[in-house]
Subunit: 242 residues, 6 copies
């Protein structure tokens, strides 16, 4: 049951969680799951192209705008737990301290699933670095010898990978389609918060339509109009075939 | 719920369904699912090595023994619907008539999932041929223009691939682990029916133990002692992450 | 220069050439290239689902409709040379006679490039069979010892693969993006000919938009609004990097 | 020890065994191994381009020339057991009878290793068909239930794949390098028998030089000047690392 | 001959060399080879889960236990040269100093083969880091310009990769099977030294049984009861096929 | 037209650009393109084996020789813009400062294409590091938020990968063949500058011959005698098929 789920979403930049998982997040919140969102960087350098067209633009201003947009979008999706790690992007580089922090957060949240970037994004090295980081932290979190006072080790939770922008060139393969028909309007509203990446709104609307088509074709679920797909890092473990 | 499931299992030879899916089959039957089993060939030529050690052995006799063993094993697993297609093996070759027959059977049974051999078995060309055949028939079954009087087209059902004997050389990757702890004793009993392949009984007991270890490690399900894994031909389509 | 090109397009079914290459075909015709189109099957069994919903539908009637639609669409794209090979589909099976015929056609047309289905379509075994067939015929056509009286052997021409419907599951990787902005309206008009596959029109409009986005992102060509992508069977051979 | 080895080489066309394994064959013969050579087709249609440039050339004449060249080259390599199966090429198609014949030959020869074409040659569908055929026959040969009166089943022997002409496009990966320095002069002499494929002689001389370079670089064997590489179908089984 | 071999085994943690190569190591020692063992970390954080269940456990105590166990197991296998690099694990991070040290050790030992972790272990990022490190050091060791006073450059030695725990998910493919029937009892005894990883003893006993089955099936060596498999980083270079 | 092209070539070591792209560089210069060459390290440690055979050799002297050779070879190819970054090799490690410098150089040069090392070289970890570095810098250069005063962001330019020494083991696949027949004599002359790597001259002459053979076979361009191949990081974007 979704209300027993705890979802941790780790987003490289301010908007990634919306384009790539906004429908799933909104659906989980709506159905009573806990959703925790970590935005590592607001993407001042790498994902704010349109904002930098303004004359006399400054990094501070871009950061303010992006943070506000990200916060607003998360609110529309219903996310209450959002944290900004305030990292610089392009490139994102992780310290040992951040690795320890993430292990601690995983052990506090104890997610049933983590969604983050997939193994490879042929056009965005930051996304690759985030995958590697989250994967490593999730493994460390499972080990009793990695001591975090007051917090016990976890068991391996499922890890899901976001769709990158150009899937085939990135070697992305959908491992699961989530029907987001019921939360699609929220996803659209959340996407519309990002002024600096306006060209992506239509793109990701169509992506949801395309994945809906795929999901119907693969399953016969006729009422699935919109979907999001995710890669699986690990195979499913279940009571039966599903 | 498992009692709403209809499982079609297509086994190249007399014992494949036991080694590779016996625990899952027994669990499904036990939990009220319908299970239909098709054994294409009893494997007189390719999978009866030990029987051929008997002096003056004949193909007829081997066939009798293998059919009886297969039927007995299916019974232990609780399968009531079993059909033998009586094909010659090594090599298995499919006619147009058999392709039409399989489409018809799929439309009659209307399986929610089909389990058969995976795409590639590096040591058994028959298994490869069966995968190709079942895949093709499942696609044809979904098309309204392939006419089978009195039977309507299906929607795409899930296709699962059996583990081949030597997985890594065959490019096999587990897509799902099914916990078979509750039906494991039945699987063992069913495996013990096959006299001609006695060396495989210990092998597949250990495989179930190994897959149980993997399933626990990947999920934290501490009570999963034994498991079977299957490849996925298509990704999962679901209401949420699972 | 495009007016020196001779394009051979081999389409498994009546509409494949439109969804998958309609923009490129129209652009080539418009710019003076010769385009030859072979439709192997009109797809009565496998690609006419909606037509079969009509009560008392017959194969003859479906075939008439599909042939007319295909011919009309080809006309809109400007194609004058179209031939229907009238094969049955689902499954498509090729005879030795057809292999000889295709070699002969390749030697008559002497295409500078052939476009056909790509190596693998995870949801359509006919498409796989066509790829294999065309590839084999193109290789035979290059060999002087394969005698076709009055027709000389060819040199290896480029082979391009169509996008399959679900690209990532099929292992499809774009090898080239063709800017179809100028011929996109014709593609849309041609797609609208296919009544039995109405759900695909919106799908392939969006695909052209998506590929336009990809092409811009990968090249900086700001005026490329719509594109089609193709796989390459062979690498490019050129005077310089391109 | 090489004198205990029995090598079966299955060559699609008249010259394949020379370009791709001539040095290894000669070395084995010289060191006392038994070498059996099967030439499935002399390659009248697909591998005799230059001969077909002669005016009034006929298939019979090409066949005579190719057979003579092939026999002569085999002689230079020291092969005494050569059989021509006289199949037509481009395309090579195998009958059930030929499959039975090959199983019988494998059981008569009882090779310690089989060398034939590798899984995939991007420019030669015949080579792919031969790989599939030999692989299937080798598996059938190992099964006691495939009855060949008077001949017992074999155990799995090693299978090696020839280098195709364009390796990277064919997905070819060297699994073993054989030092052919001592037999290289024989290989060159044998290659020079093939008048219809003169352009390949220099090509395969250089290939032997290149593989010699690779072998030295990977092993420090300074005296390895020339080498041939082969793909492995199965991993090595050994007493120690080797 | 094995007595001319010098084996360098680089183990990420205290027990890896036992689970993954214990049989091969013992066999090499027994047959007169030199075996040098480097244990980079005893695995206090990542591979001592059971020890951390003791109340008031400390890192120092865990380290003591693990070091003693590792030393004892090495002794059972007959290894005399063992060095503990005393690195912290989870994550293992390599300094430039350690890279230089490893190059120097390789040049001192001059191994004919190195065994270490394979390219990828889907559940253990430390193992991946060790592979990368050892590979890099082996290449540097071969280069004359990397100066280590008093020690000459090596030639490329063979590199073998250990089996990871979950092979298929890690993309592991066996490149060679080593028959360890004669040293299997020692491997079992050595495995029993590791109290903190008791669940792995049965697991790796069964792995040796499974690999023995595979080795027999692939080679007909009927007396091979137990085996270990390794990946190959480089292909074999040899005098003949082997 | 080639005279509108601006080529940036990033070479890990002093000679890489010659072996791997010398013919293409010379052809571009000859036809009026701008060519900018960056040599990151002269390869004192990793690519000067023969020089280190001289008694009392010093790093300074090796560096002098290699720099002079590299400069001379570039001159023969017609390159006027060459810069030596003077990095230490084996291993090459990149600082944040160097990443910023490279972004700035890309924005100054505004290359239409960048040629550098391909994704993976199984025998040279430096080459892998350079690929990763250049790829990352090219992506950063395209982003408006990565500020370099006075220099505007670029659009994505094509990235091409050099052939590694052992292609198949490195997973290298040719994406384009460039006909270098007209500039081949210059390539040979430039290669002859490198005394420390004399064994590679014959090797790369033969490579050019082999790639010429491949290019002719794949295209029918009969006059292409010598070629260089490159991998493509991104697919081509074009007005038509090409």
């Amino acid at each position: 049951m979704m209300q027993d789920e705890r979802l941790l979403v780790v987003s490289a930049h301010a908007a990634d969680f919306v384009w790539r998982a906004g429908g799933t997040i909104a659906k989980y919140v709506k159905n009573g799951a806990q959703v925790h969102l970590v935005v590592l960087s607001v993407g001042v350098r790498g994902e704010s192209n349109d904002l930098w067209k303004a004359p006399d633009q400054t990094a501070e201003h871009v950061k303010e705008i992006r943070t506000a947009e990200s916060r607003k979008a998360a609110g529309i999706l219903g996310v209450k737990n959002i944290e900004f790690w305030d990292m610089e992007d392009y490139p994102l580089r992780f310290s040992e301290k951040q690795e320890e922090d993430m292990v601690r957060r995983i052990r506090e949240i104890r997610p049933t699933a983590i969604i983050t970037h997939d193994r490879r994004d042929v056009l965005n090295p930051d996304h690759n670095a985030v995958h590697e980081f989250v994967f490593r932290c999730s493994v460390e979190s499972n080990s009793a010898g990695v001591i975090t006072p007051g917090l016990k080790a976890t068991s391996q939770m499922q890890l899901y990978g976001f769709e990158p922008h150009q899937t085939e060139l990135s070697g992305y393969v959908p491992g699961i389609f989530v029907d987001i028909t019921e939360s699609y309007p929220q996803k659209v509203e959340a996407m519309e918060c990002f002024k600096a990446q306006g060209h992506l709104i239509e793109y990701y609307k169509q992506r949801a339509f395309m994945r809906g088509n795929h999901a119907r074709r693969l399953s016969g679920r006729k009422d699935c109009q919109y979907a999001e797909s995710f890669a699986r890092v690990f195979p499913q473990v279940a009571s039966g075939l599903a």
